[in-house]
Every structure is written in structure tokens, then in C-alpha cells.
Symmetry: C2
Subunit: 626 residues, 2 copies
């Protein structure tokens, strides 16, 4: 029997208004773990081909990991998944917080939303008691108002997850928010929740988690805590979170600036982590069992951008800042706050606005398109204004709410050239001409451009020792050179396999990948003491590979092949104009072929080879697709 979990899956049929509880399938866990792997398997089998993401036939899954709510450092996470309205392929997003652990303590490992409700509803969970309740009166409310109302009604200790107006309005990059300002932002799954008429999930869980080996449990976790605390990155994280990555990224020329035309921003100091920390930081804030506390509260005391609340991390900071040529830090902090309030992905938000700004700069967009709004680089009033208009689908915001690729397709006139997406999802804050592995990772990610699917950051800070440990000597020094495309196929493949495992356990990638403090052996040890699962390093690697291949099959079944694994021409053909990567392009083709080869995928088509699927026990899935 698997320990250390809630043990039940909630099946919520919204069409019928029916709720079932079923025990976790232990055989499935041994092959896919929980979290991302669990949803990959379930939704692959459940979501029909050829449907619209907003169809009631789409399934929205929310799952915790095998170690969520454990004492493993930073085990606070849950995952949401479904057919993405943005990419129309595999959609998946993750968030930290306390909501996931609360769900686990209520006795549940996942919630599967099927069908669609006729009227707005929310799911209320109080341990054994689970109800679908009327949400008409909070339909239209923002995320904070919804949280306030639910906690007023069900108790202050209730944890909530839900959507704001963006999700209700089917903004294609709407987020599912939890604990007010934590966001499962990418892939637009907030809009899927909106399409199902589900406003929120309130949870109160006061149960216990029984661990498998109570005798060795605390001992093992103590070791992990000590290692995490001793890691030099931890201290820095507590101080800056991820905000001072902005300085590093600018330094190495990887900071997307002016819609990714370049990788350095001349005014970077104005929006740096140091600036935020000195002038706006209230306090760092930890999610469940977090030691690094990247989360933080900030405050703008006066002026038009006055607020107090959750603070942007590097991605929002760069996306709403340098990417839009915006050096007004208070506007960045405030726009991020608004995005949380409306429930939107700040990466796609900033990237979509920056696309529009470049089109404006090139004269392809005018006031006629925008309803008179000025889209000059760095116009922070416009950024704030558009954020609201997108969430509420007003005016020009209604076009941008479709994401940059669909917006450009609608407007035409050559604006398509400035779209910085992969598979219709906006590329995150990693200018790949300055770090080739990130360029490859963006195209291989199953969920559209996504920096976290592989999170191949080992070359970024020159983790030579870690690289040697993981990949062996043969790949050094090329693999550690972020401008050298060589061996990046190996690295991205291996990182993907490991990362989907981490995402199936509910762990934070900081700590498990960077700083490189924990690896397969450590999570295997945790699974032993916490869950009583005896999975070896090799088992976990195979599980990772199995999940990645199943995600790929999900997409292949929907038409994805090598041709779709591509970057905008800007990144592969236009040499970076300034800074450290000056003259560089992403040599994507070579890296991609190397990646396919390591994956055991056909190099021509990018489709997994039958023998690869056989080794992973996926041959049946493939045959069913044919």
C-alpha cells in the first residue's frame, strides 16, 4: 500500500452535478507517480481527439504530487492540466502555495473536472464533505474578492484556488490562481476552468498523512534540510528570491528586451532585484515547507501604482519590464498585481503586449487598431491599461486576449514576423541566442514554449561539477558552454526526464535542479521513507522518459511533428545585435536532431520510434493512435 498520500481521487462530473471518490490506482502510480505523470496518463486516455479546448469534453485535472505536503524541502506544489486553449495541444501548469498540501490533508490527491456546469459553481471540500455550490454571486469577482468571500463563508483557514475575470472571459492565457497570488499560469487553463463554469475550489483539510517509515523519516528529512540550508544559493534566494536573476540575465545577454530583439536592457538597473529589494520589499514569504522563500511581498506606498501584495519574480519582472522596454519598476510591480487579481499569465501578457509594441514601432499597428492607445516602447500607462482591457476583453484588449500568435494572424500586415512563440505559446524570459539549451528546450517542451519543462539551467551558471556528475566526462567542456550547441540534445533530454519526475512529486525545481542539491537518488530515498515506494534511480528515469513520451504522443496525435518544433526566425536567423551573445543565433536544427536521436525519436519526423515506446510500455498507446 502506498503511504504518504491522501488516497482518494475526486471525480466531479459538472454536467451531472455528481461527485465520486475513487481510490488512487497504485499500479498507475508505479508507472507514472502522481502529479504531472498521473494527469498525463489520465488525460491522454480521456480527452478525445478533435475537440475544442472549451468543449465540455475537455477534462481539467488538478493533482498533487507524491511528496506534496511531505517534509521534503519545498514540497508545496500542485499541477493543473488539460487540452490548452492557447496551444491546442498538451496543456499543463504548476504552482506552489498551501492549497495543494491542504487538499492532500483533506484526503485527496487529485480532482478531475468532467463536463461543464450550466451555472457558475464552486467546489467546497471540508475533509470528507465535498459539495458543488452555487457561485453566481461571485461570478465576475476578481481573484482576491473570491478568496475573501470563500474564507468569510467557510472559515479563515480555508485555502482557495480559482479564476478571476480573465478565466471567465476565456482569455487564452488565463491562469488558475491559488492562495491569492500563486499562479498555474501557463497554457491558459484558467479559461478551461471558466468554460466549465467553475469559479473556485475551496479546501479545508485537517487530516493526517501517515508516512511509510516513521523511524527514518525525520532523520532523512533532516539531512535534506541541512543540505538545502547549507547551499550557498539558499541565502541569496531568501534575500532576493529570483528577482536578482534579472541582473545575471542582463549580464550574460539573456534578458529578453524589446520583444526579444536583444538580450540586454540598457536600463536594467532600474528594474533590478536590488532595486526591488532596497525600495519595495516588505518581506520574503515561504510556501509550504519552503526554505528559500523566493515568494515575497512588496509595497508601493504612493502614486498611481500604490498597492501591497505578492511580488513579481524574474519572469514577470522581465516580461512586463525589459521585454516591453519598460523601466518603470512601480508599474511592473503593479501590473503583476493586476494580473494576479484578474488571473492571467504574466509571461504571455507581457510578451503579447511587447509584440504589439514592436508592431507599433514598425508602423504596422496604429491608433486605429488600438482605439487610440499609444503603444510606444516602455509606455507603462499603456501596459497597465491593456492588462485590464485584456482581462475584460475590452476593445483592442479583446484581440490581445487571444495571445500574440492569434492576434497577429487576425491583424496580418507582417505583424506575424514579430510573434515570439512556439506552438502558439509565448517564449518565456530566456533569450535563447545567449543560452542555446533554452532555445532547444522551448521547442521540445510538450506544452508549447516553456522554460520549465526541461529547465536546462545547468550550463547557465557553469555548474561543471554537476554536469560531470550527471552526464559524465565525455560531454565536458562543451556541454557546460551555453553558447555551444553541442550536447545540448543530451542535456535537454535528461533534464526533461528528471523535471517531469519532480513535477510528479510536487517538488520545487529550485533545490532539485538549481542549486543542484537533490537528484534521483535523493527523491528515491524520500519516496521510500514517505511513500514506502521502492523505486530506484533507473525506475525514476524510466518513469520520466515514459511521461515525456506520452506527452509527445498526446501532441503527435494532434498533428505535432518536427516542423512544429521550431523557433521564430529572429532567434535562428538574425544574429543577436548587442552584448555577450552578439553575433549568435540558435543552431536549432543540429541540436534538435541530436535531441531526437537521444530520445529514440525519428529524426525526420520527431515521432517516437516503436522500439522506444516498447521499452517504456507505451506501444499499445501508439497503436491505438494509428
Amino acid at each position: 500500500m502506498i503511504r504518504g498520500i491522501g488516497g482518494q481521487i475526486l471525480w466531479v462530473d459538472l454536467t451531472k452535478g455528481r461527485i465520486d471518490k475513487k481510490p488512487v490506482d497504485e499500479d498507475l502510480v508505479e508507472k507514472y507517480l502522481l502529479g504531472a505523470g498521473f494527469l498525463s496518463r489520465m488525460l491522454f486516455d480521456m480527452i478525445p481527439l478533435g475537440i475544442d479546448p472549451f468543449s465540455p469534453k475537455n477534462v481539467l485535472g488538478i493533482a498533487t504530487g507524491l511528496l506534496t505536503a511531505s517534509m521534503f524541502p519545498q514540497s508545496s506544489r500542485h499541477v493543473v492540466a488539460g487540452l490548452s486553449p492557447l496551444t491546442e495541444i498538451w496543456g499543463e501548469s504548476h504552482a506552489a502555495g498551501f492549497w495543494g498540501p491542504e487538499l492532500k490533508l483533506a484526503g485527496y490527491d487529485a480532482i478531475m473536472f468532467l463536463g461543464a456546469s450550466k451555472d457558475p459553481v464552486y467546489l467546497n471540500i471540508e475533509n470528507d464533505k465535498v459539495d458543488l455550490l452555487d457561485a453566481s454571486h461571485i461570478w465576475g469577482a476578481d481573484v482576491f474578492e473570491t478568496d475573501d468571500w470563500l474564507r468569510e463563508k467557510h472559515g479563515k483557514r480555508t485555502r482557495t484556488l480559482g479564476i478571476g475575470q480573465a478565466g471567465e472571459n476565456l482569455v487564452r492565457f488565463a491562469a488558475i490562481m491559488n492562495d491569492r497570488d500563486r499562479a498555474s499560469a501557463r497554457a491558459g487553463l484558467g479559461a478551461v476552468m471558466g468554460s466549465k463554469n467553475v469559479k473556485a475550489v475551496a479546501v479545508r483539510g485537517t487530516g493526517k498523512i501517515e508516512v511509510a517509515d516513521s523511524k527514518n523519516y525525520l532523520k532523512q528529512m533532516d539531512i535534506f534540510f541541512d543540505r538545502m540550508l547549507a547551499n550557498p544559493f539558499t541565502k541569496e534566494r531568501v534575500k532576493y528570491g529570483t528577482t536578482n536573476l534579472l541582473e545575471l540575465m542582463n549580464h550574460i545577454g539573456r534578458l529578453p528586451t524589446y520583444n526579444m530583439k536583444q538580450g540586454v536592457f540598457e536600463k536594467y538597473e532600474k528594474i533590478s532585484g536590488e532595486t526591488i529589494t532596497q525600495h519595495y520589499l516588505v518581506k520574503p514569504r515561504a510556501d509550504w515547507n519552503c526554505l528559500q522563500r523566493c515568494g515575497r511581498y512588496t509595497r508601493v506606498k504612493t502614486g498611481p501604482y500604490k498597492y501591497i501584495g505578492g511580488s513579481p519574480e524574474f519572469e514577470s519582472q522581465s516580461s512586463l519590464g525589459s521585454r516591453c522596454g519598460n523601466a518603470n519598476i512601480e508599474s511592473i510591480l503593479y501590473t503583476h498585481h493586476l494580473a494576479n487579481m484578474y488571473g492571467m499569465d504574466t509571461i504571455s501578457l507581457g510578451a503579447t503586449i511587447s509584440w504589439a509594441m514592436e508592431a507599433w514601432d514598425e508602423g504596422l499597428l496604429t491608433g486605429e487598431d488600438t482605439g487610440g492607445i499609444d503603444l510606444s516602447w516602455g509606455n507603462h500607462e499603456t501596459i497597465v491599461k491593456l492588462t485590464e482591457m485584456i482581462a475584460l476583453r475590452e476593445g483592442f484588449g479583446n484581440i490581445l486576449a487571444e495571445g500574440s500568435e492569434r492576434a497577429a494572424a487576425r491583424i496580418g500586415r507582417g505583424t506575424e514576423e514579430f510573434v515570439m512563440t512556439v506552438k502558439k505559446q509565448e517564449i518565456a524570459g530566456q533569450e535563447p541566442r545567449a543560452q542555446k539549451s533554452m532555445g532547444l528546450a522551448a521547442v521540445t517542451a510538450a506544452r508549447g514554449a516553456d522554460h520549465l519543462y526541461a529547465f536546462p539551467v545547468l550550463d547557465e551558471a557553469g555548474f561543471d561539477v554537476e554536469i560531470k556528475k550527471r552526464f559524465g566526462n565525455e560531454y565536458l567542456p562543451e556541454i557546460a558552454d551555453r553558447l555551444n550547441p553541442k550536447f545540448k540534445g543530451v542535456m535537454v533530454k535528461e533534464c526533461e526526464d528528471y523535471m517531469v519526475v519532480i513535477e510528479s512529486l510536487g517538488l520545487c525545481k529550485y533545490g532539485t535542479q538549481i542549486p543542484p542539491e537533490f537528484y534521483y537518488e535523493d527523491v528515491a530515498a524520500a519516496l521510500r521513507v514517505h511513500n514506502g515506494l521502492n523505486l530506484s534511480k533507473q525506475d525514476l528515469k524510466t518513469i520520466g522518459e515514459r511521461i515525456v513520451n506520452l506527452n509527445r504522443l498526446f501532441n503527435v496525435a494532434r498533428g505535432v511533428t518536427r516542423k512544429d518544433d521550431s523557433l521564430p526566425d529572429r532567434l535562428t536567423k538574425e544574429p543577436s545585435p548587442v552584448g555577450p551573445p552578439k553575433g549568435q543565433v540558435v543552431e536549432l536544427d543540429d541540436m534538435l536532431s541530436e535531441y531526437y536521436e537521444h530520445r529514440g525519436w525519428d529524426v525526420e519526423t520527431g515521432i517516437p520510434l516503436p522500439e522506444t515506446l516498447k521499452c517504456l510500455g507505451l506501444e499499445k498507446d501508439w497503436k491505438e493512435l494509428l
Copy 2:
């Protein structure tokens, strides 16, 4: 670092008289463990194609397992392997005793004998000190004399392994003996040792074994001990060893009688375990860390068969008894004693004699062939006489020393029809018409007819619960029915995979397979505390499959295909004439196809499919063979 082992491999180049010590390759251990898996990998790479088994280019490997000398119940075993003189394909045989643990305590996990010595030698190991010494004066001595002499010279606590006259005389079923009466008997590897002019290996080891997790080690082993002691089989084993299997086998009609013409012996009571225990047993005897004590001493006090010493177990008892129609128990005990003394496999010995007896009975052999010896069924004086003549290659014994298949080929006249072999090795004491799984196992075993390669005895005693646990409900009740050929392909495949793992760990199959007290999870736990290896159930299964496939490739490279995986017509075409299996034949073709399918081998040829090899990391080995 792997713990719980000696840590060194002894490389003995007999041609050059040179001894090297090399550390154990830990990467190899993670893929093949030690023992049988280790030798499978090493010898696959080292033994050239197209050589004679008696060529100096043959390699004789002797290895202990990863758990040999541990406190795991019954962890006393070592394995010998090389190109077999009997089958001319993969040859491997195992024995219990104290010699293997002693080698381990001397600091060595294996010995690899390369080349051939010009003059007789023996290897003397006293911890660090390892010497090749002159054995001229003991060449020609029997096994007991050799042991006496070595212990006289090197100390009473010295453990010895070696050959008697049969090995020196290249009898094709000569055994390698250890601790006087323990035999690595099958496959004729004693003759390979003889061909290399190596008489013996004397070992004295006084070192320590450091276990990986000393804190949990004893605790874990205590659990295993208690379980083993509580198993109802254990008590019976202490009383009878395996000798009372004879009654069971006769009862279910699986007791080879009259050269396997039938499966019941009308005089079985005269040679039963009960008879031995009542009249001849001196005491049961344990090998290293053995709880069941199948080994025993017996004594015949008077008459021509007077002796005291090691006692036959079921295989010798049936082979030299019912198989030859011999109801004289004292002659059986004595012949077994002689076979130990000369160093011969009692299974091939009895089977070869019984083949000759049937040919005599049919009038195809006469006194002219035998030098006047009467070969009537059950003539025990003849059996005793021929045993000596075979070992010394005298007269008709010189022909029989080639094994029954070569002897029949030489004599011709239709005697070939009575040869009960698979791949030239005599089928052991399991009449397969009474237990279909054993018929399949005999043909799929990599080392010629061999009941222990799969040891698929789960259906024998109706272990329904165990079968359900291992194979799931879908196979019941057919899999548990020993006369039903259905699902036997699954069972034999799974048993083979598990058994090669057990043979790579140095464990006894009683306890790990029957009674079904230990399974993958348990050996995984033992490997953790003893060796510090974190291998999961799935890892171990994959390792088992890898070894079986590599053994198969060894044979495929030497011409083995489906056509060689066959039984004598008697067993597949002639219905069993009497007893419980009356009217039964072995439906080999169907079972074999099912087996190949489960193995991922081509059903037409029996050759592993490329994708199967790829999953096991053996694709390179296959390509090199092509």
C-alpha cells in the same frame, strides 16, 4: 561503492602462469549483479566463436554472488561457467557449500581461468597470497583424496574445490566438486577444468565483510530468518531434505522411470525418502547459513555398498534409481558416493546408463558392445561398475563418457530414439508429460536441458496464492494446473528472469522459489542493507531479463534457433502410458510460441527481436554478432 563483497577478481592466466587482481567493475554489477550474471557478461565477451570447449581459448569462470557469505538465509552458493563440452553452448552450474563464502572472505568475488597450464597445477589462496602450485602428485587422485591432501598441506580449515578422475579424463559430464561432496555438476565444466590442467582451488579466507547499513542489517536478516523458519516446508526439509520428493513425484506421475518411458515406478517405496531417512540417515547437514539442511550424511553399514558420506538428493536418487529401474537403495547411495568421488554429474550419469539399458532391453545393444556387461533394467552391479568405467574411460565406459547423445550417434542402429536430451544434455528428473511447465523450461534453458534455469515449480504443489501474487488473477486457474499447457510461457519466462537473479546473488532456490518465501522485494531489501545497492523490483526484473537474453545471444551466435528448442519425440508424441498423466503429451509448440511472444523473441526463429535487445541495452551485442 558497493559493499558486502570481496572486491577483487582473480585473473589466472594458466598459459603464462600469471595472476592478476582487478577490482570489481561496479558499472557491470549494476547491470548484471555478480555470480551468474557477471559470468554471462564476461564470458560472452571473452569466449571466441568456433572454438572447441577443450581449447585453451575457452574460459572457465568461477564466481560468487552479491549475497554469498551474507546472512541472507542459504547464501552459500557459487557458480562455474564456460563453453560446455556437453552442449557446446552456454555452460553453467552452481553449488552450495562453504567454498564460495571462504573465497569471499579471502577478498575475491570471482576467479577467471584463461589459457591452459602445461603441467597439472592447483591454485592456492590464503587471503592476499595467491599461488599457482604444482599438482602433479595429486593428478589422478579422486576428489576426497585431493581434499585430504590439500587440507593436510594448507591447514584443516582450508576449503577446496576441484575435479576427480572424470574431469581429468574429459568425461563430458564431469563435475567441479567442492567441500568434498558439493557438485557444480551439469554442463561438464569439470572436463574444462581438466583440459586446463587445473586440479583444484584451495582457499583460506579470514577477512571481514563490511555491510552497507550495519544498523538495519541484522534487523532485516532477522525478519528473513523468522520467515524462513516459520515456513511449513522448512521443517520437512530438515527431516527429509529433497529425498521425499520422490514419493511426491511418483504420486503425481512425474518420476522418470525406465529411461523416462513413464512417470511412476512400481517399486518407489524401496528408494523413497522415507526409506533413506529411516534406515540410512546419519544427520542432516547445513551449508553456509542454511536453515533447511537438504544436505545430509548417510551410511551403509555392511555389504558391498558399505560407505559413509554425503547423501543423494532427489535428482541422484531418481536418476540412479527409478530411471534405471533400480530398486536397490544401497546401490543408489553408493553410486552417488562414487560419482562424488570421481567428480561426475549424477543426472547425466544415470540418464546415460538408463539410455543404454533401454537400448539393451530393445536388443539394440548386446554384450558385444558392452564387453559382456549385462545391462538389464535395474542391474545395480552394472550401474556401479559402469560408473567407475565411465570416470576412468574404460571399455564401454569410454563411449558412455561422451554422454547419451554422442554415444547413440556413435552406435546408431536406432538407439538415437531413446536419447532423452535437450541440446545434448540429459533431461533431469522431471517427467514433463506430468508437468508441462517443466517440459517447456527444459527446452528454453540456455544451458541445455536444465530444471533449475527456470525452476518453474509453482504449479507443482498448487501454489495458487503465490501464482496469483506474481502473475495476477488473469492467469488463474490455468497457470496453476500442471497438465494444462496454457500460460506456461508466461510462468517459465518470469521464473527464468527471477532465477538468474537468484543465481547472480549466490542464494539457494529453496526459500526463494519454493517455498515461495522471498521475492524481488526481499532481495532488493537485502541488497540495500548488505551491498548498499538501490535496485528496485523493476531493476532486478530487467537485470534478469538482460541476463537471459545475453545467454540466448551466446547460443544464437553458436547456431541455436527454435529448431533446437525441442524435446525427444517420446515426450511430445507418445502419450504417457500409466499413472496420473496417462494419455498426456507435452504440447511444446504452443507453449514455446507463447514463451517467445512474452520474451519479445521472434516466434519463427526464437531469436530476440531488436527492440527487445534495445530495451535491455543489448543492441550493441547483437550488432557485433551479425
